[in-house]
């Protein structure tokens, strides 16, 4: 088991490096680079050449890749060419936000999806089941970014004060600014940001992105759960339990759900690519300061180091998701052995 995980993780390293190599080769196909952002057209030519040489942009792409690779071995992902900050720092700021968003969505996906799936399976072919089926088909076909906009539209009508963009509310920002100012002036201030207050603020901002990101996947989890429960309900041991007079509630909770929900968690890992792609758009709509925002920004600005790092990280998330799926598969079905 342990050896299997280590082998898979080691196998993932060349994959991720290949992603970086492929991206850099792709970017080299098209002339132009990030230097267009900070070069003034009136500059003398030799000065432009010098700036580009300072950033190593005058080298062929494979030389750039090799230099970058040597740096990566030392844990240095390079400098962002557009933000003039180390890439590791940018990602260090953005990654926790994306993980928070994805993690919370994952929770919603499984809680909502499994609940709906179990309900519609227990009441198979009833009105509830049919309505839930139709609704989940709708949600499954819905683009997340549009759902996000519709949420913004509805919430801004019904509840104008609810935050619909960004991650930090104005009150907190004001307090941060006040503290910064006091620090600059060397004064002491009684403005404090309570931990609890900050959490509530973040949670408020989190609600809409999580719904927008999670609902479509929740619908597919619901479909999967429904068929899984229906399969278990037909098993002999469920009939036995009913025959010996176990209460229906207990049959469902103890005998059916235990066996039906375990396979469902295996699709957790397979959901990862959808979550990653979806997060890019959802972050864009809600102005959530995560990896998706950085990715879109780095693509438009041709900020190669940041782009490659973002893409690598997203690939790592996908690969880890697949690994998790395989491991959970073995956990849910002990007949599958990894060795």
């Amino acid at each position: 088991m342990f050896r299997y995980v280590v082998r898979r993780l080691l196998g993932a390293i060349p994959m991720v490096l290949l992603v970086a190599l492929g991206l850099r080769a792709l970017m080299a196909l098209v002339p132009g680079d990030a230097s267009a952002l900070w070069i003034n057209p009136d500059m003398p030519v030799d000065q432009i050449a010098k700036i580009r040489a300072d950033f190593g942009l005058d080298q062929p792409w494979y030389v750039q890749f090799w230099r970058w690779f040597l740096n990566v071995l030392q844990g240095d992902l390079g400098m962002s060419l557009a933000q003039f900050k180390p890439v590791t720092q940018i990602i260090g700021d953005a990654l926790p936000n994306t993980l928070l968003l994805s993690g919370a969505s994952m929770l919603v996906i499984f809680v909502v999806g499994m609940t709906i799936g179990v309900i519609s399976a227990i009441k198979q072919y009833s009105l509830t089941d049919n309505v839930l089926t139709v609704v989940s088909f709708f949600l499954y076909s819905m683009p997340g970014f549009w759902l996000a906009l519709m949420l913004i539209l509805v919430v801004s009508e019904l509840w104008p004060s609810w935050p619909s963009s960004g991650m930090v509310g104005n009150e907190i920002l004001d307090k941060v600014a006040a503290i910064e100012e006091a620090k600059l002036l060397g004064e002491t201030t009684d403005v404090r940001i309570g931990v609890f207050e900050k959490w509530i603020d973040t949670a408020q901002h989190l609600v809409m992105p999580v719904i927008a990101l999670g609902l479509a996947s929740a619908a597919s989890v619901a479909r999967y759960t429904r068929s899984s429960v229906l399969e278990v309900v037909r098993q002999d041991y469920v009939r036995t339990a009913r025959a010996k007079g176990v209460a229906e509630r207990k049959v469902i909770l103890r005998h059916v759900l235990r066996n039906a929900l375990l396979p469902v968690i295996t699709i957790l890992g397979l959901m990862m690519p959808f979550l990653v792609s979806g997060a890019v758009l959802i972050e864009y709509v809600f102005g959530w300061p995560g990896m998706g925002q950085e990715l879109v920004g780095s693509v438009t600005q041709r900020d190669t180091p940041l782009l490659v790092a973002c893409a690598m990280l997203l690939s790592v998330m996908v690969i880890l998701g697949n690994l998790a799926a395989d491991l959970l598969y073995g956990f849910a079905d002990p007949r599958i052995r990894h060795d």
Partner: protein, 402 residues
């Protein structure tokens, strides 16, 4: 089912009377395409204008569609009659595989709605010049730009920030979304089928290399790859070829799923007796692969393709939403939603209607794909299908008794 007599023996009428009504309605719509075009064209007054001005359109992909639209007016009724022709009733044993598939398909109501939706979408696509009251890039009131709401001032679904008619743009948008979806999926499915056949049939190092390559491509989130490619080549590729670039990129990033399905299917098929028989008869590998193995793994491929069109429409909408899709002024549903994003609180109709269209289109393809899966691959579905199989047997036996 009662024996069809008299007028109900006619194609399409047969489906309306006996068969699934929704399919009847879908076929009727397709059959009535020329009169629909005529009526709508006359009512909206756009018929003569569009036939004459068809050449003035900016992007040539829309021009091509205008020519096809005229042809569709002839072809569509013919296809509808062909599809709606009542089939002679035969006992179950005598039915071909495809007749059984058709019968199973006819039993699933969700799939009917999917089919109706898809027919309706293609009607929109072919008849856009006749159904849309204005051109997709026609500025109705450029001197006085204001956002007009739905059902007022001659705008059925409101106007956008350049006083263009949203209803017309949604109709023309179907051409972009459906074309990209259809062609890109055609490309990716052919690629997947071919490579899956090669990997499964030849095994060994071919299989190993191809499958590692598939793993590699699957480890890159598709949207990231598309984002990078579209952003990079956006300025290099001329605007009128942006659609082609998108189709190709979507096609070559979407074949991995099909490839895996086909490979696993081939792996089990090539041990079967009919393949062994082909070998014994001395058929070449190519012949066995193309004539005997490939047709037998088409079922999951058809399902994957139908579901893939829906998914591709979603991806196209996402890219257009990020501003990396087709160039202005060609309408795309995703881009229309993106336009509306700025005005979300002032002009809800700019986002709501194009978004609904995306949902409806993707839903139609998903429902159709689901129905096709149930019809083509009865093993994959659960208890519901088993009951239907039983019903089927009862039905045949009761008919025999009668």
């Amino acid at each position: 089912m009662p024996e069809s007599r008299g007028v109900s023996r006619l194609p399409i009428v047969h489906q309306l009377v006996h068969g699934p009504r929704v399919i009847g309605v879908a076929l009727l719509l397709a059959f009535l395409m020329p009169p629909i075009a005529l009526v709508f064209g006359l009512v909206s007054g756009s018929l003569s204008r569009h036939i004459e001005a068809a050449r003035g359109f900016g992007s040539w992909i829309l021009d091509v569609w205008n020519v096809l639209a005229i042809k569709a007016l002839v072809v569509s009724p013919a296809v509808a009659i062909w599809l709606g022709w009542p089939k002679a009733k035969r006992p179950r044993e005598g039915k071909s595989q495809w007749t059984l598939v058709r019968e199973r398909f006819v039993r699933s109501p969700m799939a009917h709605w999917g089919l109706l939706g898809v027919v309706f979408l293609y009607l929109l696509l072919f008849l856009a010049p006749f159904l849309a009251p204005y051109g997709y890039d026609y500025l109705r009131d450029p001197a006085n730009l204001k956002l007009v709401g739905p059902l007022s001032d001659g705008y059925l679904l409101g106007s956008d920030q350049y006083s263009r008619d949203i209803y017309s743009r949604i109709i023309y948008g179907s051409r972009i979304s459906l074309t990209i979806g259809f062609v890109a999926v055609g490309l990716s499915v052919s690629l997947g089928l071919l490579l899956g056949l090669l990997a499964g049939f030849f095994g060994g190092w071919v299989d190993f290399t191809l499958m590692r390559f598939v793993d590699y491509l699957l480890s890159i989130p598709r949207l990231v790859l598309l984002l990078v490619v579209m952003a990079l080549f956006k300025d290099v590729v001329p605007a009128e070829f942006r659609v082609h670039l998108m189709v190709v990129i979507l096609g070559i990033t979407g074949w991995m799923g099909t490839c895996r399905i086909v490979r696993s299917e081939v792996l089990s098929l090539k041990e079967r007796d009919f393949v062994q028989a082909g070998r014994a008869l001395g058929y070449s590998s190519t012949r066995i692969m193309l004539r005997h193995v490939a047709p037998n793994c088409l079922a999951p491929v058809i399902v994957a393709a139908t579901l893939g069109i829906g998914a591709t429409i979603l991806v196209e909408a996402s890219l257009s939403f990020l501003g990396l899709g087709v160039p202005e002024p060609v309408p795309s549903w995703g881009k229309m939603v993106a336009d509306g994003k700025e005005y979300i609180t002032k002009a809800w109709w700019m986002t709501v209607f194009p978004g609904f269209t995306i949902v409806a289109a993707v839903l139609a393809f998903n429902l159709l794909g689901d129905g096709l899966r149930d019809a083509l691959d009865p093993r994959s579905s659960g208890s519901k299908k088993i009951r239907i199989e039983e019903m089927d047997d009862e039905e045949t036996s009761s008919q025999e008794a009668a």
